[in-house]
Amino acid sequence: MAAVWPTFVRNWRVTLRAYPWTYFVGTLATGLLTVGVALLAYRAIGGGRVAASFTAATGGSDYLGYVTVGAAALTFTTRMVLWVAKAQITEYREGTLESQLLTPARRLPYLLGVTLQALTTTVVEVAVLLAAAVALGVRLSVPDPLALVAALAAATVAVLGMSVPLSAVMLAAGEAHITQNTLFTAMALLCGFTFPTGYLPDAARWLGEALPVTWALRVLRAATLPGASVDVPSALAVCLALGAAYLAVGLWILPPAERRALQRSGNA
């Protein structure tokens, strides 16, 4: 576990030097637009009312709160996946993957270090997004701190779990954009960020159930929205189990992917 702290510190230093603060403004745009468009649609098209089917599917009628938590969760997920899944392909492109793999440090502590640093910046970004939503008139209840911490931990495990196999795919393919955007599109459709998964066809809904982020989102909503009909302990357990399973698969396929990447660069 010796690599966790140095990797955390390294990424902080790199982030502070590489990105101006305006970069973080840009990262908030997607979440703010999602909330803003939902607000406009709700007021201008929906007349401030929601369908009975929405209330039945979510256990509440607070559409704006639902969308805001979803947008915050989407921002959290995409930002974390971008940091963690792209960590090694970035090393590969910058020519530092070899020097990292030459060391006896294990992959998991390295990835945990990247995840912890990503978590600190992403939590700040999400907090700013939620504050902006509240300023726009969205009402959010004050969550139970314990439930919120459990939900954040579950979401972090879910995102880490999904990011590691994705990192292996990116390295093996030598490509990041198609891979990440495919995952982001699938998550946006399947995980219930902006609408209940009950609206999806059965096959798509089951695909969504297989993603740990779907379960993490349910726990997050249960922690932040009153009346959300979620069995929190079960959702938490499924989220952690799926996250751990994805992580195990990712750690298993990562070394061959790294060798494939090095082989590609050394076979020239």
């Binding site: 140095p6 390294r10 530092t96 006896p104």
Partner: protein, 333 residues
């Protein structure tokens, strides 16, 4: 337990390339290294030479656990590079030419601190070690400057310091002086010699063959992934039929002197070329395995000629490597 780095029938075959989103292969498998059996002992510098594509870098990547051999074995002090990869990584390090392998956004000191932590160097020792290494490579004054502001030579010096951060028992050097200024390259050569004297086993690949001749006690020559020769630099030069080139300029035009040199040429079997230099003087060029300067000068003087210039170019390791590479049948490349 055997000591040193030992490879036995080591092979690496790269499969055909595949496009990222398809399993369709392009091209054919490439045997980068074939049946390589060599030893790199502790406490000396061993050379690994060959033309581009000979398999040197692939060999280093296998020895450093970055690539897995297709077949055969490689051990470091008895530890297998595949089965005991993590233990092997603690004992070795790699310095490659070029400017990569370090983080541009970090300073030199931060880079060494980070890599030292990944090698589990104890914190108190690491602080001292980082300072020593920055001094050693001449970067103490730029220690707290981000690497992106370093010159090419400075970055390469930091790469060298990174390769020493874990006090490796074996150091694999892949073109380490590429891009370095002459004084820094000389410092590195002295450092490598000192490390070897202190017991570090060094494997060196370099395009600067004078560097290899100066540092290496033993050299392995690869061609097309196969070992084609090995020995000391002097033995390798002797193995190939390379020749000394002797150029003698004789004062004025003295036919007897030229005839005397022709006689030496006939007696020794040396190839003789006679022409005239810009000043109209006879210039005699002899090619032979031995240095014939003594007998030729003696013959010229005895015949009444005077010597204006004498120049002998001995065969070099470079000549030997080129000759060996040309001699390898195309089928085994």
């Amino acid at each position: 337990m055997s000591t040193g780095i030992v490879t036995t029938a080591l092979c690496k075959v790269f499969p055909p390339r595949r496009t990222p989103w398809s399993w369709r292969a392009r091209g054919t498998p490439v045997a980068a290294v074939s049946g390589l059996s060599i030893a790199i002992p502790a406490g000396q510098v061993t050379g690994l030479l060959g033309l581009n594509g000979a398999g040197k870098t692939t060999t280093i990547r296998m020895l450093s656990t970055l690539l897995r051999p297709t077949s055969g074995t490689a051990t470091v002090d008895g530890l297998d590079v595949v089965a005991d990869a993590r233990a092997v990584r603690r004992r070795i390090n790699v310095i490659a030419g070029g400017e990569r392998m370090v983080y541009s956004r970090l300073t030199g000191r931060e880079n060494l601190w980070y890599f030292g932590q990944l090698y589990d160097v104890p914190r108190a020792r690491l602080r001292r070690r980082v300072g020593e290494l920055l001094e050693l490579v001449g970067l103490a004054a730029a220690a707290d400057t981000p690497v992106e502001r370093y010159s090419r030579g400075m970055r390469q010096r930091l790469v060298i310091a990174r390769g020493l951060v874990n006090d490796p028992a074996y150091l694999l050097l892949d073109e380490p002086t590429l891009g370095l200024d002459a004084p820094i390259a000389r410092e590195l050569r002295l450092l490598v010699a000192r490390l070897a004297a202190d017991g570090v086993g060094v494997l060196l690949t370099s395009h600067y063959l004078a560097e290899v001749e100066q540092l290496c006690r033993h050299v392995h020559v690869l061609d097309g992934g196969r070992l084609v020769a090995q020995g000391s630099p002097a033995q390798l030069v002797a193995q190939t039929d390379r020749q000394h080139v002797l150029v003698v300029t004789v004062g004025g035009s003295v036919p007897a002197a030229v005839e005397a040199v022709r006689a030496v040429s006939r007696d020794t079997g040396a190839r003789l070329d006679v022409d005239v230099d810009e000043a109209g003087r006879d210039r005699l060029t002899l090619r032979h395995r031995d240095d014939l300067a003594g007998p030729v000068v003696d013959a010229v003087v005895r015949a009444g000629g005077s010597i204006v210039t004498v120049a002998v170019t001995p065969p070099t390791l470079e000549d030997a490597i080129l000759a060996m590479s040309r001699a390898t049948p195309a089928g085994v490349r």
